[in-house]
Structures are given as C-alpha cells and as structure tokens.
C-alpha cells in the first residue's frame, strides 16, 4: 500500500475543465429541452428568428452535448485520475502544465466559436461532424495537445502497469483521432476555385454512398469512443474508488476491453441498414452489433459485481446510486442498440423516435450520470471541502431518474407507433395513414419528452448549484478523503 500523502496532485486543469463541463452541459440541456418542446409546440420555433428554428438548434444541441459537455468531462476526469493512477503529479512537468493550459484556452474559445458558426448556418451537415474545416483544424490541434499531454504523463509515471481506466482513455484518444481525421476530409472551395465565394465553405472528399459509409463508420464510433470508452474508463476508477471495493475480475476487464476494441468498429453499418450500401456490409454491421452486447455488458457486470455485498453503500451513498444506475442504463442502451440493429427491427426503428430514445438512454442515463458522479467525487478533493448537500443530491437523483424513464418510455412508444403506422395498410392493401397522421399522433409523447427535459434540466441545475455551494461554502476538509466522499 502506498500512501497518497506523499504526493500533491495538481488539480488546476481538472478544475478548469470541470467548470466547462458544467457550463456546456447546462447549455446542451437548455437547447435540448427547447428543441424537445418545439416538436410538441411548434410556435416555439420563432423565439430567435432565423436562429431559433428546430433545425438550426438541433446541431447546437448535439455538438454542445458531445464536443462541449462530454469532451470537457473526459478532459476534466483525465486530468484528475490520470495523475492518480499513474502516481505522478502533472505539476512535476512544467511543459505538460503549459500544454494543458494552452489546450484549455484553445478548447474554450474554439468550442464557443464553433457553436456560433453552427448558429450562423455553417455546417458540413454530417452528423456529429458538422463543423466546417477551420474548426476541424482547431479540434485536431486540441486533440493532439491532449494526446501529447497524456503520453507525456504516461512517460513520467511511477506506476509501471497501466490501470484499466488508462487503457480506455488511450483508446478514446486513438480512436477519435483516427475517425475524426478520415471523416472530415474536405476541400475548401474558396481555394480550389481561384478565390470565389465563402472561404469557410468546403465540400466532402467522399460522395454519396461512400460518404455515408465513412460518416457512419465515424458516427457509430464517435459514440463508441466518445460516449462509451472514456465513460467506462471513468467508472472503472470512480466506482471502486468511491466504494473502496476491489475490481471484481481482472480477466473480465481484459476480455471486455479487447472485445470492445475489436468488435465496435465493425458495427457502423447498422446505421445504413436497408440503404444503398452493399448487402454484405449491412449483414456484417448487423451481426457484429449483436455480438457487441457482450463486451459492453462485460464492463457493466464487472462494476455491478464489484459492489457485491455492498447493499448498504447503495442505499446510503447517493454517489454509488448514480454509478450503479449509470451501469444499468449502459446495459439498457447496449442491448437496445443491438436489437435495433437487427434488420427486421431496424426496418421499423430507423428514422423514428425510437432512435433518439435509445440515444438518450445512453447519454442521459449513462454519460451524464457518470460524469456528474465523477464531478461529485472529485469536488471535495479538488476544492478541499465537503459536498454541500447530500439531500439535494438525493432529490436530484430521483428527479433525473424519473426524467430518463419518461424520456425513453415516451420515445419508445412514439417510435414503435410511428414505424408501424408508416407501414400500415388498410383492408384493400393501400397505405392506411398519410404522413401527417403519423406526426400528429405523436403530440402527447413529444409533450411528455419536453416535460422530462424540464425535469432533467432542473436536476442538472441542482447539481451545478450543489457544486457551486461546495466550492464556496462547503465545510473545509483538513485532509483528503481516501474513499467515500464526505457530504453534509
């Protein structure tokens, strides 16, 4: 057993990214709630003129959630736990500190500028890769900076063997780097046309079906290496750390990790089932998606088994609740996705609200829950103060859990209903429903989803408030807690 006291970790970068996580999380959810409400009450499209329509705001929501909130969360937790599991303070290297700060400012300014560009209508329109080329360059720079920083820290580590979390952060770095580069190959038209038109505009290097293939090889794996891999990295650190339990099985960690790495990339074509992509590729995407259930569930099961015998912790530590619930939502979304990847099921599910339903099981139940739990765990260590209110945390937990359940149940019913209505034929064999019938029937579910958005957002504001109060008026701690997070 080593003692932590010997090492003073530097949390300045972790803190900075934590603030951004909260800021971008708030923005993403405000916009998410607004667009959810717009589908139920279309008058809300006209609050901001041209800039307030559902269609302009939707990419703001997704990009702020993915590249704002989630990526900040990944950076914040890396700059916290990276040091700890490698047993080295980042402050030991001036170089890494400077690099980290450059990364932070570039990221902050870049993310804001990119968001504004989307609002203005600059978009290459590939999902989760909408940013135009100047912002792509900034993204790549930030990613390289982070990579160098991570490798640097690993280079000066004291702990020889890499902890499981580090595997996942490394994979996140490599995977996103590769995918992002390939998918964002585009040619600025201004330079290729002898100085005509808008310098920011570009065209994709790929066309048609090829473009679709590259995009969804990226898109699916942006989910894999953005919403899954690093979040698994987080839970592998924060759950055992918070609970003081040892990881249930090294073998299970190992097989799940390499299984995930191998299988994930094959599954991208499940976004293109029944399209003009060759049949054999669709078959592979479908089959590998089903196989993917197991490496995904492996990590979740490993986490649940780590908590074996710890029922009392589950009932009286809300932080453990957050993480156990996150694991179960991870399991839900990683069986729901594969089932939706079955050809016949996808014939109905694709294009319907069942897909956003699946998405938000994952992001609200898994990603956001895990990142909030991480921040709750880190805050007392970073700010040397006790969590301001356990009660608030409990209330937040139940409010948001209800919200996620409302979100996915309403979208599940809406999606299946809509998918079946599109196919339905009357007694004579002609289409039974006009398209608009399949829209108006969804109104109640859209309204429920909007309500769930308000609830979830309220929970997030409670979270932000709790952290703010912790920083400013939590009871000061004399020494860093080893496992369980102290809360008032």
């Amino acid at each position: 057993m080593q003692s932590n006291a010997a090492l003073e970790y530097d949390y300045s970068l972790a803190k900075k990214f934590t603030f951004l996580t909260i800021l971008f999380g708030f923005l993403a959810m405000v916009v998410g709630t607004l667009i959810a409400a717009q589908l139920a009450f279309p008058e809300l499209n006209y609050l901001l003129g041209e800039y307030g329509t559902f269609s302009r705001l939707r990419p703001i929501h997704t990009n702020t959630a993915v590249f704002g909130f989630t990526v900040s969360g990944i950076f914040a937790t890396w700059f916290y736990l990276g040091q700890r599991v490698l047993k080295v303070s980042i402050a030991e290297s001036k170089f890494l500190m400077v690099l980290g700060n450059i990364q932070f400012w570039l990221y902050f300014v870049g993310a804001l500028a990119a968001t504004i560009s989307l609002l203005l209508g600059y978009s290459t329109s590939k999902e989760y890769a909408q940013y135009e080329w100047p912002f792509d360059i900034v993204v790549v720079l930030i990613w390289v900076l982070w990579g160098v920083n991570m490798m640097g820290l690993i280079g000066i580590r004291r702990e020889k063997a890499l902890y499981i979390s580090v595997w996942y952060y490394l994979a996140c770095f490599l995977g996103v780097a590769m995918l992002y580069l390939f998918n964002n190959m585009e040619i600025p038209t201004y330079f290729a046309s002898g100085g005509l038109g808008d310098p920011i505009h570009s065209v994709s290097m790929y066309a048609g079906t090829n473009d679709a293939l590259v995009q969804w090889w990226y898109g699916h794996n942006a989910v894999a290496f953005g919403f899954t891999v690093p979040i698994v990295g987080m839970i592998y650190y924060f759950l055992p750390k918070e609970s003081g339990q040892a990881i249930y099985s090294y073998k299970l960690s190992l097989l799940s990790f390499w299984g995930l790495m191998f299988v994930y990339l094959w599954a991208g074509s499940h976004h293109l089932l029944w399209s003009t992509v060759p049949d054999w590729m669709q078959t592979m995407g479908s089959a590998f998606s089903i196989v993917l259930i197991l490496p995904s569930w492996g990590s979740a099961i490993n986490m649940l088994l780590t908590m074996k015998g710890e029922w009392n912790q589950l009932t009286d530590n809300p932080l453990i609740k957050f993480m156990v619930l996150a694991s179960t939502f991870y399991m839900l979304s990683t069986i729901e996705g594969p089932i939706q990847a079955i050809r016949s099921v996808n014939a109905i599910a694709h294009f319907t609200d069942w897909i956003p339903g699946h998405v938000h099981d994952g992001v609200l139940g898994w990603v956001v829950f895990m990142i909030m739990a991480a921040i709750f765990h880190m805050s007392p260590r970073m700010f040397k103060r006790e969590i301001y209110s356990k009660k608030l945390m409990e209330t937040q937990f139940w409010l948001q859990t209800t919200a996620v359940v409302l979100y996915f149940t309403s979208m599940w019913i809406a999606g299946i209903t809509q998918g079946m209505m599109w196919r339905a034929v009357d007694e004579y064999g002609n289409l039974m429903y006009s398209f608009i019938d399949t829209v108006t029937v969804l109104h109640p579910y859209y309204a429920i989803r909007a309500l769930s958005g308000v609830m979830y957002l309220t929970g997030f504001i409670m979270f932000a408030y709790n952290i703010y109060k912790t920083m400013t008026s939590g009871r000061v701690l004399s020494e860093e807690p080893q496992f369980r997070t102290p809360m008032a």
Binding site: S249, K251, D279, I290, V291, M331, A424, Y428, L431, M432
Partner: protein, 296 residues
C-alpha cells in the same frame, strides 16, 4: 423472486402493454406483418432481459459478499481480484459469436442475399394479387379505397375535403372555377395529351369569355351563351369531351383523371404534378370514383 425483480419485470410488462395498446388502437395488426411481429419481439427482449439481468446483479449486492484472490497491484488504493469470468457471460459471448457466423453465412449469406431481390419478389406477388382482386370492384369499394389514397397522396394540395385549400389547387366540389376557364380561353392549353392536341388561345374574349366561363363554372346549367358554340366543336355538344378527343368539362370522368395523372397540369391555380408511377390503374379508378363523389 424478490421485490425488486418483480417490480422491474412489472415495469417492463407495463411498458410493453402500453406500446401494444397504442399500436392496436390505431388499427394496426401486429402479427399480420412479420416485421411488426419481430420488432415487438425485440422490444420485449430488451425490456425483459435488461430488467432480469441487472436486477440479478443488483440483488447480489444484498446477498453475496466480495471474495477472491487479490492481485499484487494497486492503483491509487484500487485493488483487483483475480476472479474467473462469470460463466453466463462467457458462454453467451461464445454463443453470440457462433450465431453471428451462422447469420453471416446462412441467415443472410454475405455472398448471396439481396435486399432488392427480396423486394422485387414480394412486390411483384403483391401487385399481381392486388390488381386481380380489385379488377371488378364495386363503386362503394372504389370510393372508399379512393378516399384513403387521396388522404395519403393528394390532400396536401387539395385539402382534406378536396376543396383545394382556398384556391391553391383544384376544388373538387365543382368541375372548374371561373378563373380557370377564363385562363384557358385566354391562353389556350397544350399539356394534357388529348387526341385533339392543343386548345387554341383566344377563342373568345371580353364579355363573351366572361359569359362562357360563368356558364362552365356554374356547372353548364341553363342555356348556353351563344358564343359557347365555338367550344362545342371540340368539347362536344354535351360538353363531355367528344368521346375522349378533348377534356370533359362537366365532370371528372376517367379520362380527365387519366390525362391529368399522367401528364400533370399547370394552370392559374398552380401546378399539379404528374403521378405516373405512384398511382396504379386500380388506384386511379378508385381516385376517380372518390373525386366524382365530391362534386355530387
């Protein structure tokens, strides 16, 4: 079974029942369409498997205790057991892997399966049957069928009641309005492909044209204005189009429908697209029956 398991399975059941109830309330038969059936099966699998498995492990938090041999390593106070793989997990992994091989080589053989081939077979069989079944459908059936096709394909322009959305498209409660007739008299027309070819421009003007237009828009009732004679040479003395040589100006007969659906039509109100392939012959008959019923 303990409380948590019962609760979570009950929740799954509730969700599934709610989904089925909503779908059935829309007159959709879940089992008539295998895609629907498989989808419901998938939904049930998601809900039940997730509930059962997660609750199984959560229950272990209550009943089991952590045990095993600890590895030597330790990161920031986190240890690691050297436990074996949970066997259920390991066997499922293996089984799914084998299944995926079966799926790729036999289920949807990657060298042989074609979704387009499947579609062509299915649609050919369907269409043959559809056209045969409804070849001699009676007028009530045709009208009902026509209404449902109309509500899928036509109502976006002609309005749910067929009134043409206040002049944005043809109003089916009458054959033509005055404005339309005047326009054709003034400008002629040559787009519908009748054997007679073009309708010349300027056949009448001023008060004469007005009178003719009112007469046609009024449903050709009463005495025709004198100048209307110029028209009957082509449209027939009964104005019904001279056995298909030119359009029927009295009602939406089968030929009017056929010509407009094949060619589309641009008039004063706007442009009507052609529906060359979207509407089959039986569907055209049905639409005719329905549209005729609107003007009566």
């Amino acid at each position: 079974m303990n409380g948590l398991m019962i609760k979570s399975l009950a929740f799954s059941a509730l969700l599934i029942i709610a989904t089925i109830a909503v779908v059935m309330s829309l007159d959709i038969d879940i089992f008539a369409d295998s895609i629907n059936a498989i989808t419901m099966g998938g939904a049930i699998a998601i809900a039940v498997i997730t509930s059962a498995v997660t609750v199984k492990y959560i229950n272990q938090m209550k009943t089991d205790t952590a045990s095993g041999e600890l590895a030597d390593e330790n990161w920031d106070g986190i240890g690691e057991y050297k436990n074996e793989l949970p066997s259920g997990w390991a066997y499922s992994f293996l089984a799914l892997f084998l299944w995926s091989m079966w799926y790729g080589f036999f289920g949807y053989p990657i060298n042989a399966y074609s979704q387009i081939g499947e579609y062509n077979e299915e649609v050919l069989a369907y269409n043959t049957k559809f056209e045969a079944t409804h070849k001699n459908a009676d007028s009530v059936t045709l009208k009902e069928m026509g209404e449902s096709i109309f509500l899928v394909q036509c109502f976006q322009c002609h309005g749910a009641t067929g009134d043409g959305l206040s002049g944005k498209a043809q109003d089916f409660t009458a054959r033509m309005n005055k404005e339309q007739v005047l326009d054709v008299i003034k400008n002629g027309s040559n787009q519908l492909g009748y054997p007679m070819g073009a309708m010349p421009a300027g056949m009448a003007s001023g008060a004469e044209a007005e009178a003719i237009a009112s007469y046609i828009a009024g449903g050709l009732k009463g005495d025709a204005p004198a100048s209307y004679g110029a028209c009957t040479s082509c449209h027939g003395v009964d104005s019904k189009g001279n056995d298909g040589m030119s359009p029927n100006l009295v009602s939406y007969d089968a030929l009017v429908m056929n010509h407009v659906l094949q060619k589309g039509k641009k008039g004063v109100l706007g442009k009507m697209p052609a529906f060359k392939t979207l509407i089959t012959p039986v569907q055209e008959k049905a639409l005719t029956a329905y549209i005729q019923s609107l003007s009566n």
